[in-house]
Amino acid sequence: MRPRIDLHLVRENLRQLDETTYFSEKLHTFTKKLIGAIDHVLAVPSRYSDDVVRVFADVARISQTYLAGSTTKEAPYEMEYCLRAAIPRWTGRETLITTALTSGQDFHLLPIDPWNFVATAVSGYQVGAYSPLLVLIGVPRIYRHKPIYCIPLYHELGHFIDETLGVIRYSLFVNPPPPGYDHEVVQSHRQEFFADLFAACYCGHASIRTLQTIAPHNPATPTHPATADRARVVEEFLGGIQNDIVDHFQSCLAALGAPNLMPLYSLPSIAQSYDDMRPFTLTSREHLHGIFESSWNYLSETLDGRPSSWAIPSLSDGDIERVVNDLTEKSIRNMSIKERWDSGITP
């Protein structure tokens, strides 16, 4: 297909998206500006080569796909809120998070940077200082209102930060794979270790408990280290025990001028509120991230028979899970609403 025709089709879809009601103001702005850039390219056919238009059509099409996921009322706003709270430590770029609900069980997170492309290759269109990164998170539909089961999104955010800063690329440069090791395998394993540690900075032990639940005995594969090795690295990091992998990543981050890996959470004491079936009142970022480990522990203990006013013997595991996830989701939502109310901003 000719790239200009592709751009016409993408623009048409973006216009339809822009008319939807369930769209945040920031996503409307993003969409309008992207339509403006496409209008500009299509208005002057001779100004940009087919190669530029082809890549731009690709960038615009992927962006449009990302935006489409966030037009429904189903987006897990609470998880988006938590991830947004984590990002500013790592990048000064504004980041817009969009969501796609997936039918599988895998979480994913994909970044795209259309405005860097526009500013560089479509330079006749003035974007000014507007340059938000667009991040698509893929969440299994069955977990969209189950924040405790969305902990892997922090791991995915770790991949995004790695990609944005170039951590593992730098790691491979200063510490190449030993002779005889497969470059791709070493790269993949380092990416996974980094993302695990990143998630542990925010979700603590819950990050690795999730993995141990999903893949308790998995051996090393070309794409992933063994679960036992991943758990050991995270446990040593959280326990303050010296670990060569952690030390190496810290030196890479320092060389890149990035902040270091460190626990950025504290565990809120949710038991009293949850025992009364009340959301916990979150008042700090550390508690916001820490509620995942606290809730994970509370859920595990309640499933194991910990007494509370509501967890009576006739309740099924599914009932208990639903109550704890609901309380966690409401705790996060209340903090989000209060923050917006206090600041007077629109969503």
Binding site: S46, R47, Y48, S49, D51, V52, V55, D106, F107, H108, L109, L110, N116, F117, A119, T120, A121, S123, G124, G138, P152, H155, E156, H159, E163, T164, L165, G166, R169, Y170, L172, F173, V174, P176, S188, Q191, E192, A195, L211, I214, T223, H224, A255, L256, G257
Partner: protein
């Protein structure tokens, strides 16, 4: 994703490769912004290759990727040594750099 990570290697140098493709096309001038971007990536990658400790902060991920490719491919190092900036890249040199970069991704 928790079960598999997507490879970004082939995408991270898209803009850099696009600049090289535009070198051989005389109908449209290459924008100053594209020159600036290309030169920044090239200079950072070369500096990193010479002395990793010479750069602190502000490194572009694509410059690190290019430096990695340069270290792995002697031929790529050779052709890039002839390029000081985008203005100094001839269409033949651009083709040669592109061929080496594509060979790196395909291998």
């Amino acid at each position: 994703m928790l079960a598999a990570t997507p490879s970004q290697e082939s995408r991270v140098l898209t803009l850099f490769q696009l600049a090289l493709r535009l070198v051989g096309q005389s109908e449209q001038p290459i924008s100053p912004e594209m020159h600036t971007y290309f030169n920044r990536v090239l200079h950072q990658a070369k500096a990193l290759n010479q002395d990793p400790s010479s750069i602190t902060g502000g490194l572009l991920p694509e410059a690190i990727q290019l430096a990695l490719n340069m270290r792995e491919l002697e031929e790529l190092r050779g052709v890039l040594s002839d390029a000081d900036d985008l203005a100094s890249v001839s269409p033949a040199l651009a083709d040669s750099i592109l061929n080496n970069l594509e060979r790196r991704v395909a291998s």
